[in-house]
Amino acid sequence: MSGFLLRRVLGAVVTLFAISVIVYVVFYVTPGNVAQITCGPRCSPAQVQQVAEQLHLNDPLYARYWDFLQGLVAGQDYSTGTSVQHCSAPCLGLSYQSDQQVTALILAKLPVSLSLVFGAMVLWLILGVGTGVLSAWRRGRLTERLLTGVTLAGVATPVFVIGLVLMIVVCGQLQLLPFPQYVAFSDDPEQWAWNLLLPWLSLALIEAAAFARLTRAAMLETLAEDHIRTFRAYGVGERSVIGRHALRGALAPVIALNANNFGGAVGGAVLTETLFGLPGIGQELVHAVNVVDLPVVVGMVLVIGFFVVVANAVADVLYAVADRRVVLA
């Protein structure tokens, strides 16, 4: 186990390095006068030049990356004009646009994204795996058909359509819920949950179908295997066969898929965040990309990368627990 952990930690560090290098290179080649964008549309060439110098935008790529690494390890000093502030290690730099410390920005936005993704994950697992089990076990019944239809509609409709229609119908026309507005868990847990209900549902609906189909297929596979026939022959109850034995075999691909979806959703749920006005990482990332705010982009992408790596590590552990034949790599 400790070998596994060590390998994974090393792998994580390498992955995150690779990601940061890729982002730097991508932004280096992307067109767009960053200094002009940061300064403002009416800035004179002299002003733009000043901003470029201040932000080291004219330095060569490797020098800028080296500065980034230094900041990460040793922190950075910067001037506010009237005083000098210190950004302590690990310092991901300052936003070009707002001069905020990127780490502070991440700390402010991460809880929002995590709230969204965790809740949605619980829902999509229940809905998805539940529908899948039902499909394999009770094919053709009304509930199964209905649920399958819902999950398929979920994968066929983009999240901004589902979300907007849900909001219009549930909040505008039926007035069952007020329009969602993010409330932090620390402020009011009950309101936090109520306001996240629609975003959770929207995100869950689009992801559930994949899990439903995957579970169903994998269960049908497992159900056909010899050891299942043996159980049945010995008179083990159908419920037990499905629930304990068949489902176990289906877990592998489900766990794998979930890890990726969870990790990716932390930064990829940008459409859901934009639609529901959730000030999360995805929304911030898209905005930063649009205004070429490199420190924010790198910071956000690294955070997302971190979660993907962690989610995959957890998935591998769970996977080994679920299927004892697998050895932890």
């Binding site: 390998r7 792998g11 992955t15 690779a18 990601i19 982002v23 991508v26 080649v29 992307t30 076990w137 094919r139 053709g140 398929l152 509609a153 994968v155 066929a156 409709t157 983009p158 901004f160 359509v161 907007l164 229609v165 689009i206 994949a210 995957l214 297929a217 994998a218 049908l220 596979e221 159900l223 056909a224 026939r229 075999g249 592998a252 691909p253 766990i255 794998a256 898929l257 990726n260 979806n261 990790g263 990716g264 930064g267 990829g268 940008v270 459409l271 995805g282 990332l285 990309v289 992408v301 997302i304 990368g305 979660f307 993907v308 790596v309 995959n312 299927d323 034949r325 697998v326 790599a329």
Partner: protein, 316 residues
């Protein structure tokens, strides 16, 4: 016990033919592809095209709502017209099918190709190979779609055909899930008896992969692929939403969904038409995917006979 997959193509078709639902689905998919390919012919029959504006058919003072019932349905415009522009919706829908289905299919092929290769290699290779490939997969999965899309769009000159580029972007970015699923499934299969038997018989790694493992991973891959095509259509919609999808005036279902989103209350058919088309596509592809998966697995026949609820399926 004969190894699965050794039964051959003929048995596969035989088994596929016995499933009515899958056959219907296959027909629907074929129809969709046909409609997409024959788009110019169909619109010529209707006498319209997807890019001509008809400003007289929309009510300019009310934001461009189509004039007439059901969004301007008439003998000239079979499915009505688009709000604001007055462009023919039937034409845009069928031309959009070309782009959406084409992009989604191409992207899916790319995703499956890369995902299977990476997943199998990771599962069968040494621990070090597995680590490197898994971490590489992590990097790709972690990279947000938007960044990759923007990067590629920025680097590639704008003369490169945009739909091809979008298909490549989606394909190159989203193979991570397939790779994960394939790796997981391969790891499981690796431990099964018949594979061990093959190994003992002296078969090389790649031979094992081709004959024993690929059929085994076919099931989850096909199941997931059936969902990948429509999912890629919505990814294309997401890219349009973020402003980096196919460029106007090229219609695509994704673009139509993005634009129609806000028109839900004032002109619902504008949203329901592409959404409905997409739903039918998903349904057909899913059922077809199920059928193909079942047909690939000879044990399914015996499973069908035992049954888990419905007797009438057992017809093999």
């Amino acid at each position: 016990m004969p190894a699965p997959g050794a039964s051959g193509a003929r048995q596969f078709w035989r088994r596929l033919r016995t499933q009515r639902a899958a056959l219907v689905a296959a027909v629907v998919v074929a129809l969709l592809v046909l409609v997409a390919l024959a788009a110019p012919l169909l619109t010529a029959i209707e006498g319209q095209d997807p890019t001509t504006y008809h400003p007289s058919l929309v009510d300019s003072a009310r934001g461009g709502v189509p004039i007439g019932s059901f969004g301007g349905v008439s003998a000239e415009h079979w499915l009505g017209v688009e709000p604001q522009t007055g462009r023919d919706l039937f034409a845009r829908l069928v031309y959009g099918a070309r782009v959406s289905l084409g992009v989604a299919l191409a992207a899916t092929v790319v995703q499956i190709a890369i995902g299977v290769v990476v997943g199998v290699a990771a599962a069968l290779g040494s621990r070090w190979v597995d680590q490197v490939l898994s971490r590489f997969t992590d990097v790709i999965v972690a990279m947000p779609l938007m960044i990759m899309a923007l990067a590629l769009l920025a680097i590639v000159p704008s003369s490169f055909p945009r739909p091809v580029l979008v298909a490549l972007v989606i394909g190159l970015i989203a193979w991570g899930n397939i790779a994960k699923i394939v790796r997981a499934q391969t790891l499981t299969l690796k431990g099964l008896d018949y594979v061990a038997a093959a190994r003992l018989s002296g078969w090389g790694t790649w031979r094992i992969a081709r004959r024993e493992l690929l059929p085994g991973i076919a099931a989850p891959v096909i199941t997931y692929a059936a969902l990948l095509v429509p999912s890629n259509i919505t990814v294309e919609a997401a890219l349009s939403f973020l402003g980096v999808g196919v460029k106007p005036p090229t219609p695509s279902w994704g673009q139509m969904l993005t634009a129609a989103d806000v028109w839900y209350q004032a002109a619902p058919q504008y949203l329901l038409l592409p959404a409905g088309a997409l739903f039918v596509t998903v349904l057909a592809l899913t059922v077809l995917g199920d059928g193909v998966r079942t047909a690939l697995d000879p044990r399914a026949a015996s499973r069908l006979r035992i049954g888990t609820g419905r007797k009438r399926e057992a017809k093999a």
